[in-house]
């Protein structure tokens, strides 16, 4: 007999509260469900169907977003042309068929950064030159008087200037 026998007896007199009657009903219902024959760890059919619908929904949403992006790109082709324009700004002239419709109305040039790169000596020359590097953004604008449509083409450009420095 151990020292705790009295305490063990007192503990055993404490009776755990019985579970609610509802619990037995729920267990019975769960055991009676047809999914009870499903092997452990395998998803029920209903669950698998839900996952399929979810995948389908995500796929459709993705496709919709892609279509919207594609449509947006078709509606605004002009915004994709600056790279071409920057290579040959003078060639940004509307084609012959459109020339009558779109008329140039403006050209702006914004210098947003200038850097003085100091004195340099050109090859074979004793006279120093100051090199200035400027970054600009040029924007050409056309307007169609008939429809009121406006076409903008904007492109960045960089200009390097060599300024001779006189020694007084």
């Amino acid at each position: 007999m151990n020292d705790f026998s009295e305490l063990e007896n007192q503990l055993k007199k404490l009776r755990p509260l019985p579970p609610s009657e509802d619990l037995a009903v729920r267990i019975e219902r769960a055991l009676a469900e047809p999914t009870s024959t499903t092997a452990a760890g395998v998803l029920s059919r209903a669950r698998r169907l839900r996952i399929n619908w979810l995948s389908l929904g995500v796929s459709l949403a993705t496709a919709t977003v892609l279509l919207l992006f594609a449509r947006f790109g078709i509606d605004h082709p002009a915004k994709k042309t600056p790279a071409i324009a920057s290579r040959a700004p003078s060639s940004i002239v509307p084609s012959a068929s459109n020339a009558a419709e779109f008329v140039p109305v403006g050209l702006t040039q914004v210098v947003y950064h200038t850097r003085d790169e100091g004195l340099h000596y050109a090859t074979g020359s004793d006279q120093p030159v100051r090199r200035l590097r400027s970054r600009t953004r040029e924007t050409c604008q056309w307007r169609n008087a008939n429809t009121g449509a406006t076409l903008y083409v904007s492109y960045p450009s960089e200009e390097v200037s060599l300024i001779p420095v006189s020694g007084q």
Partner: protein
Amino acid sequence: MSWRRLDYKDREEVMENVVTHEDWKVCFSQLGPGLVLFARNWVRSPADAEDVVQEAFVRFWRRNHNIDNRALLYATVRSIALDFIRRDSRRARRESDAMAETEQSIKPKFAMEDEFQQALAAAVDHLPDEQREVLVMKIWNELTFSEIGSALGISQNTAASRYRYALGALKKNFLSS
């Protein structure tokens, strides 16, 4: 009598018989109160504890485990309770905070007849978790130390040791006062 391998339909029929067998009611009527008490080691709310017991019992019964393998049944309850806590940790934390504030309002685990039993139940509640779970399994679920060790993944001696520590703590903190 010739033996043959069961095909899918036959197996389904056999499983159906197993899961609708009335034996589960007998087992559950005997084990239910102790199982719910055991689950309440981790989940404080009686409703959550019953959810845990339901899931564990149904899983155990469907897999056609031998009900004599009680260690496995209790291990299943413990595993599902721990999953429940992990799954719902935020809610558990909120509950825990709320419980700490209103500890007196916690639904009792025992049917207590007098103040002595109330004090004893409160003393059990204040035991460290690892001692209390062994005590619950031993006193109110009548598992052997071997079964307790198997269910908790500890040795039989460790289970016995925790049990003695629990009784020692109760005797020191409760009976001496």
